[in-house]
């Protein structure tokens, strides 16, 4: 059959029309379209429409605002091309260059302090069998629930002019312990506290999946502890270590909250942007500094992507979990270290809480709720707190919905691979964008009178959108991981049984992803509560936010009220987190049957 067919083709070849030999360039598009028209049913057209809508939305939320930053940096006010003129202004300003140098210094110091500290704690909590690990871990993660300004405020109450430690427990001790808090030292300590839990989480994840077989192999080959550390432990967490370094460096490079509170005269890029834009209304220079701020973050982001991709190949299904051998001395050291870290974190929090609950630190240390009344003009009453709460809740709901939907579209639709890849790239890009840059980009973009979306400027909507764009990437990756773990066969089974797509989504995909969805919502909520960088440019006159209020109260010298607001934020976040833990414990209990094979 085949043979006769091919011989017939050879015979008839001379008669073939020329365009059948290879597609002519013009007809290719037409034929591709034809192919789509023939093979696409209604479902495919709906999917295509959904994917294109997603791409459009991501473009409006991320790409267009970023373009407007570049417009500000490269165009003059009347719209003509300015070239590198603003960049030249930047490079000729010694103050601004000094800030760049300062920022690099802070970022470098933070990283070399925070990463080893976090590594040690992660090591201690994964590689020993001490009791109370969950308490130590909870204490180490506390800073995640607080705005970064709080670390600075806590430090002022401990090491400031009237600080508990700097005055030797208000003169109880025979000596004083003064450090030059306002300036690089304060910023670096704050940033270490801020980045520590992030590095700790990354390193804990890596250290807890190391392969015990390798330790046994090394042991039988006569390796001592040091050799095992260098040949087994460190190589297995190499990529996580790089990831942690990148995260710490980026976060401390772009943070705004801590330098604002304890920076004093020590300027960094983030405070520069704020000063240029809010103080001097110099939008162009603000845009230039934003670009300078973003470039290292983008570079770090690219390195991190390459690094995480390589990490995955390290652990195989044959790996065995690490077995801890009893060792009393080691456990003693471990307790001491983990205890010191927990003590430091709790002391800081306790200082803030105490300061918020006394009349006048340190002169009238009597209990009072006064600071929680927020009566001064800078505070603006309780409204900022409610605004923040509302914004965080809306961000959590809408953000989770959009993120999960987009992850689902990218993961489960099989058509239009290029659109999906573009969608994926746009979804992880916000990871590289500092909050201040997103905030600035949003003013430039949405405040433009020619923009039909201008109506949302100054409303809750723009705050929510900026938060979603800012925090989009991590929940997106959570959703993608969860969807990837789900067996694609489920969908084929549903298809083969003629179960509708929607039904299989509602009955299978959604319930299986519920833990991930909750995790995403919590992430959006907590970050929206603590963030200051993106929203500080965007809040409307009657829509002041709690985090912004902390900055303005601290600026106005009402540090105790700023501390009170910080306490409200951290309490809200802890309550939300605890509710979530209780809920997920119930879910785990209910679904334990099908989760355990």
């Amino acid at each position: 059959m085949t043979r006769t067919d091919s011989s017939a083709r050879i015979d008839s070849q001379p008669q073939l029309p020329p365009d059948n030999r290879g597609p002519a360039p013009g007809s290719r598009i037409q034929r591709t379209f034809e192919r789509f028209r023939r093979s696409w049913g209604t479902a495919e057209w709906i999917q295509a429409a959904a994917l294109l809508t997603m791409l459009l939305l991501l473009t409006v939320l991320i790409i267009l605002p970023l373009i407007s930053i570049f417009k500000q940096a490269f165009l003059t006010v009347d719209g003509s091309y300015a070239g590198l003129a603003y960049f030249q202004t930047y490079l000729e300003s010694p103050a601004l260059l000094q800030s760049l140098q300062n920022t690099v210094f802070v970022s470098f110091m933070t990283t070399i302090i925070a990463v080893p500290l976090a590594f040690l704690l992660a090591y201690v909590l994964t590689r020993t069998d001490i009791r109370g690990k969950s308490l130590y871990k909870a204490a180490a993660l506390l800073p995640l629930f607080a705005p970064t300004m709080m670390h600075g405020i806590g430090l002022t109450y401990l090491f400031g002019h009237q600080g508990l430690i700097s005055t030797g427990f208000f003169g109880w001790l025979p000596f004083e312990l003064r450090i030059p808090l306002y300036g690089p030292v304060g910023i670096i300590i704050s940033e270490v506290i801020y980045t520590f839990p992030q590095a700790f989480l990354i390193l804990t994840a890596a250290l807890s999946i190391s392969d015990y077989r390798l330790y046994e192999a090394a042991e039988t080959l006569g390796a001592n502890k040091l050799k095992k550390l260098f040949t087994v432990t460190l190589p297995s967490v190499k990529y996580a270590l790089m990831s942690a370094i990148i995260v710490c460096a980026t976060l401390s490079f772009t943070d705004f909250g801590a330098p604002k509170v304890v920076g004093g005269q020590f300027n960094v890029l983030a405070t520069d942007i704020f000063k240029q834009v809010v103080g001097q209304q110099n939008m162009a220079l603000g845009a230039v500094v934003s670009i300078v701020l973003t470039l290292p973050a983008v570079l770090a982001f690219v390195i991190d992507r390459i690094v995480t991709r390589r990490q995955q190949a390290y652990v195989t299904s044959r790996s065995t979990p690490y077995a801890v051998r009893p060792h009393r001395m080691r456990n003693g050291v471990a307790h001491t270290y983990a205890g010191l870290i927990a003590l430091a974190m709790l002391t800081l929090l306790a200082a803030v809480v105490t300061a918020s609950l006394v009349k006048v630190w340190p002169y009238q240390m009597t209990f009072s709720w006064d600071n929680y009344k927020f009566t001064d003009s800078a505070a603006g009453g309780f409204a900022p707190f409610w605004n923040s709460l509302r914004m965080a809740a809306i961000t959590a709901v809408i953000g989770t919905f959009i993120t999960f939907l987009f992850a689902y579209l990218i993961e489960h639709i099989r058509i239009l691979p290029l659109v999906r890849q573009a969608g994926y790239f746009l979804s992880i890009m916000p990871l590289a964008l500092p909050g201040l840059v997103i905030g600035l980009a949003y003013i430039f973009f949405f405040n433009d009178p020619g923009n039909p979306l201008n109506v949302i400027y100054g409303t809750m909507s723009i705050l929510v959108l900026a938060n979603i764009a800012h925090f989009y990437s991590v929940p997106f990756m959570t959703a993608t991981t969860s969807l990837k773990m789900m067996d694609k066969e489920f969908e084929n089974v549903s298809l083969s049984m003629n179960v509708s797509w929607l039904r299989s989504f509602m009955r299978i995909t959604l319930p299986l992803s519920l833990p991930a969805i909750m995790e995403m919502a919590i992430y959006f909520f907590i970050n929206a509560m603590v963030t200051v960088s993106a929203v500080i440019f965007l809040y409307g006159a009657d829509l002041k936010l709690a985090s912004v209020a902390i900055v303005s109260m601290d600026d106005a010298g009402d540090t105790a009220q700023a501390a009170a607001m910080s306490v409200l934020i951290i309490c809200t976040n802890l309550i939300v987190r605890l509710l979530y833990e209780a809920y997920s414990a119930r879910i785990r209990h209910k679904t334990v049957a099908w989760r355990e094979r």
Partner: protein, 353 residues
């Protein structure tokens, strides 16, 4: 005693309430290939880990050449170990993996020489700069072996070294492993649950069950004269002939030892038990031979429930034109009949409800 090789005395080990090993007494001869054989969960891997020093016994001693090495950690024993799935360092090349234990122990010049020798010995020269993920399972196995023997260990321990490989590679490596062991003359202990592996490779087999040593002997001894019904059943195929009455011994015979004859053939021994009629139920072609299952028939002509399996050569099968429902006579030659005390019957019945 066993002044040259490994001696294990009164070793016990429990994990919580689970008794992994109880009162192990073993002598492992120097320079020989010994297999620890048993079903999963019998304690063989735990015993190997105790020998290696990766695990501590609750009590008892491990002696090497008469010297007590029980308190020595694994790093100080100079034993080579090949793990079940090799545990090669994924971040190191083949050469670096093999040289891992050598560095710091012998002069740098000698490391190179030893490494080259190992690569040549294991035929790994072509892949010396590859990473473990870039080589095949069989090659990984050889690297693991090279790494284990590079330090010229006093004892080589193998934990199911062939189980992760596919059948063809496994048979080939089995032979290579034996040759290497003979060439190096190194005392070797291998853990396996594969009786065929143990029979073909070992000089001595130690059969374990439920944390106890059940039998020690050469492969021939263990196969021909299994101590207990468990050993008989675990190694090779076996027929049991349970007798209903109490205090009767349990008889057993391997399928290839049963003689099959046409129905009504004279019983040479004239012993009622050892000759009986049976009807062919199923014939399984095994290539070199046929495995026939037959149901014994009693005097009334009704068939029993438990089948008897008999291995016959292709020649014999054709001679008798065996097919389903053919009635044959089976004879059990006395010299091949295995007999277990009544006590064992209970144990056997318990093991197989």
């Amino acid at each position: 005693m066993n002044p040259e090789g490994l001696t294990i005395r009164d070793v016990r080990k429990t994990f919580g309430a689970f008794q992994a090993l109880s009162d192990i007494q073993i002598d492992i001869p120097k320079g020989k290939f010994t297999c620890l054989l048993g079903p999963s969960g019998c304690g063989k891997t735990t015993l190997l880990r105790i020998i290696s020093g990766l695990e501590r016994p609750d009590s008892g001693t491990v002696l090497l050449g008469g010297r007590d090495i029980t308190p020595l950690p694994a790093a100080k024993r100079n034993f080579g170990i090949v793990f079940q799935s090799y545990a090669l360092f994924p971040n190191m090349t083949v050469s670096a993996n093999i040289a891992y234990g050598l560095k710091g122990k012998i002069p740098r010049r000698d490391v190179e020489a030893k490494l080259d020798e190992m690569l040549r010995l294991m035929d790994l020269e072509a892949i010396r700069d590859r990473y473990p993920s870039q080589i095949s399972g069989g090659q990984q196995q050889r690297v693991a072996l090279a790494r284990a023997v590079a330090l010229s260990p006093e004892v080589l321990l193998l934990d199911e070294p062939l189980s992760a490989l596919d059948a063809k590679v496994r048979v080939k490596l089995r032979e290579e492993l034996c040759l290497l062991q003979q060439r190096l003359g190194i005392t070797t202990v291998m853990v396996t649950h594969d009786q065929e592996e143990a029979l073909t490779m070992a000089d001595r087999i130690i059969v374990m069950d439920h944390g106890q040593v059940v039998q020690i002997g050469t492969p021939q001894e263990v196969y021909d004269r299994p101590n207990t019904p468990f050993v008989a059943d675990f190694i090779g195929a076996i027929n049991f002939f349970p007798v209903q009455e109490k205090n009767n011994p349990l008889y057993a015979m391997r399928p290839e030892h049963i003689i099959i004859a046409p129905d009504g053939a004279e019983d040479a021994m004239d012993d009622g038990f050892r000759s009986f009629r049976a009807v062919v139920q199923h014939i399984e072609f095994r290539g070199a031979f046929y495995r026939i299952s037959l149901l014994p028939i009693d005097e009334n002509g009704s068939a029993a429930v438990t089948a008897v399996t008999v291995d016959v050569s292709a020649q014999v099968a054709q001679q008798y034109r065996l097919e389903r429902d053919t009635v044959m006579t089976l004879q059990l030659p006395a010299d091949r009949l295995l007999q277990y005390p009544p006590k064992a019957v209970g144990a056997y019945a318990e093991a197989r409800p």
